[in-house]
Amino acid sequence: MAKDITSGYEPLTSIEAITAGLGEVGYISTAQISTAVFLAHGLRKPILIEGPAGVGKTDLAASLGRWLDLPIIRLQCYEGLDEGKALYEWKYGKQLLYTQILKEKLNELIGEADNLSKSLGKLADFEDLFFSPQFLEARPLLNAMQQDKGSILLIDEIDKSDEAFEAFLLEVLSDYQVSVPEIGTIRAKVPPIVILTSNNVRELGDALKRRCLHLHIGFPDHVREQRIVRARVDGISDTLLSQLVRFVQSVREADIKKRPSIAETVDWARTLLLLHSSSLDEQFVRDTLNVLLKHESDIAAISPQIPKMVREAVGTDSGGRTASGYPDLG
């Protein structure tokens, strides 16, 4: 395993170091997540992350970048995304402008040549000049290859892109190089750590899956969610934290259209904190439920169960675990 001395990936020495490092920047990792990052670096392979919306797929890439102090280069996928927007584009406008400026100069040059073949040769020199890195507009993929100390390349929501684009990504992902026909192949100085996320809008191709490590991030368990909320929301009391997380977890078990994500738990915790509530109470929950649930029908489905859920969330708290005892995750 050749370790690149000049890369910015040195802190990725062990799984424990990754968990601790991500913790420093406020990302509460699990054994699976840290293992995947460790392997991604060790095997030089992209990670494909799947899971419901709002469980921290994108945030993992951002946190890695913050911790390792590397640039995060993000490519948001959408239908119709093509090479021109993902890889590189020629700066047409600039080329055109330069041609205009050089017009007279060109005449002079060609004028000097006595015959057609000579002037053609001279023109060919210019052509090479115009199709040179100087006129190359780097888009995210090329940009990620050109970073001196490595980078975190986040290809977000790959399932929203077309299949053709997925196939096109294969070269980038397996060899960390891109081909520009006019210039040649550009290899990454230091291969980026690539993170792809997918919400499973469509099934991804086998070829892509084969080239990636696969990580599934689900909704967090009670303990991990508490830690995440604590890391994001300052000054929240242990009682409220434990109660609200338990409430959210029981909401997730209900049969609703969109289950609340971690982001929504955090928003809700902030809301409750702003309202100065020190513990969960039925009225507060009823008033602020729209922060947690985003569909009218979901709110209608949960409303009748609120008294029971609040009772359970508050009731079990006295004999429950303390927030400090974190069992081993994973």
């Binding site: 395993m1 799984i15 054994a31 699976q32 293992t35 995947a36 392997l39 060790g42 095997l43 392979k45 494909l48 799947e50 239908e79 119709g80 047409y92 406008g93 055109l96 077309d162 299949e163 053709a164 469509r202 099934e203 086998d206 899956k209 084969r210 080239r211 990636c212 490590l213 696969h214 990580l215 599934h216 994973g330």
Partner: protein, 454 residues
């Protein structure tokens, strides 16, 4: 150690987890990085490298626990076994004095020798080719082969010898050997069962699936239905994936001069961005009409399954059911699980005496507007109309208005036109008349429909 991982991959493959050679190499590199020391870590890592979907992860975790069961004992036993000469398993004991071999075997079963026993069992498993086990009925055979490989014959000989002698000492001796033999057989059997779970269970499932897929639908029994439903769900998913792919935008064809000029106005009319004229394809509608009358009672489950799976693949499907009266069942299919949907449909429309004529005239009055020139009509039924008026005038009207009409018939062509079947009279108006009798036929038929649909 390498063999341990490659065998594990074999087990995964037999359980329908697709592991490519590249992924197998990744797994080997992963093991080189991580080591076998920490099982939890190894499990997470291999799950990451080998299992590429949530379903595969479940299979992986289950197999991992089975395969690495009693992890440390087994792995050290196996490596020890591999250190020795290959095939030493039986030749060694055969070459030595039979009495010694038997004594050794008895010693193995004594308390405190678990390590040695595990080693011997592992070696015997290797010698007997246990990893080739495919069916649960083979466990007894493999267990026997393993006992033999461990030197069971020598023990048997000693036992016969002891039984022929008389006296308390000989009796005790014999009892001791019987116990040892039983203990060894138990150990071997246990090992064989575990091997079956790892290597065989997946194959057996696949075998059963294959049988169900080609079995005639009328011959399927109640206990097959669960399997069928799973298979149908699989097929529906496969078809949905295949047909939800968007058509690739064509970047060739005829130049669209007007749009090209406009797009390049900024470049002084120099055509940097070339735009091609594209043909727009109409998105067709599918209307499925299903016969649920008494004459198709034997097929009704299947016809409804077909309707149900179509609905899953094509969300904007218009579905109708009839026996005497015809009604819209799209909402019922949408809102219920298959069993519930079937009960509701049969309660409302089901199993009366058929009248295709009445059904067509109901359709004409209430739903005719859903048919336009983009519509594909699919009729599911046997075309047995109790000698009533088939109302060809109405049917030909629908068929003429629609883009295409497809009839899927659970009866074979030999029966068409016999008795009250009016299929041959409907046939001229259909673009396609297919006999659908097995799950395989069903998949092909839906595939064809969807191919013309997208």
């Amino acid at each position: 150690m390498e063999r341990q991982i490659s065998n594990f991959i074999r087990a995964l493959r037999s359980a329908d987890v697709k592991v490519s050679t590249g992924e197998a190499l990744d797994a080997a590199r992963t093991v080189a990085m991580i080591g076998y020391g920490d099982r939890g870590l190894l499990k997470d890592s291999l799950a990451c490298v080998l299992a590429k979907s949530e379903a595969e992860k479940d299979v992986h975790d289950k197999l991992f626990d089975l395969y690495f069961a009693g992890s440390n004992k087994r792995s050290s036993a196996q490596s020890e076994a591999e250190d020795r000469d290959d095939g030493s398993g039986d030749s060694e004991s055969g070459g030595q004095d039979a009495a010694d071999a038997a004594e050794q075997m008895i010693a193995l079963t004594q308390p405190g020798n678990e390590q040695a026993l595990a080693t011997a069992v592992e070696r015997a498993a290797e010698a007997a080719g246990l990893n080739d086990i495919r069916f649960s009925t083979q466990t007894a055979y493999y267990a026997q082969q393993m006992v033999k490989a461990m030197g069971g014959e020598a023990l048997q000989a000693r036992l016969l010898d002891a039984l022929q002698r008389s006296g308390a000492e000989a009796d005790a001796d014999a009892q001791r050997m019987i116990d040892a033999r039983r203990a060894l057989t138990m150990a071997a059997r246990e090992r064989a069962e575990r091997a079956f779970e790892v290597f065989g269970a997946g194959e057996t499932e696949k075998f059963r699936d294959d049988v169900a897929a080609t079995k005639r639908l009328t011959a399927l029994e109640a206990h097959d239905m669960a399997r069928m439903k799973l298979l149908i769900a699989k097929i529906a998913k496969r078809l949905a994936v295949k047909h939800s792919r968007r058509r690739k935008k064509t970047s060739r064809g005829i130049l669209d001069v007007r749009r090209t000029m406009r797009a390049n106005a900024g470049y002084d009319g120099v055509p940097f961005n070339v735009i091609w004229r594209q043909k727009k394809k109409d998105r067709p509608k599918i209307v499925a009409i299903c016969d649920v009358s008494g004459s198709v009672a034997a097929y009704v489950r299947f016809l409804l399954l077909l309707l149900y799976s179509l609905k899953e693949v094509i969300p904007d499907l218009h579905a109708y059911a009839f026996s005497y009266r015809l009604g819209d069942v799209s909402d019922i299919l949408e809102e219920n699980e298959f069993d519930g949907a079937m009960k509701k449909i049969l309660r409302e429309f089901g199993l009366g005496s058929t009248s295709y004529g009445q059904a067509w005239s109901d359709f004409k009055t209430d739903h005719e507007t859903v048919i336009d020139r983009r519509t594909t009509i699919i009729v599911l039924g046997d075309g047995r109309s109790n000698y009533g008026d088939p109302r060809l005038d109405l049917f030909s009207g629908f068929a003429g208005r629609a883009k295409q009409t497809i009839w899927l018939n659970p009866e074979g062509p030999a029966l068409w036109g016999t008795g009250d079947s009016v299929i041959p009279r409907y046939a001229p108006y259909c673009n396609q008349m297919s006999h659908v009798a097995t799950l395989k036929d069903l998949e092909r038929a839906i595939d064809e429909i969807l191919t013309s649909y997208s």
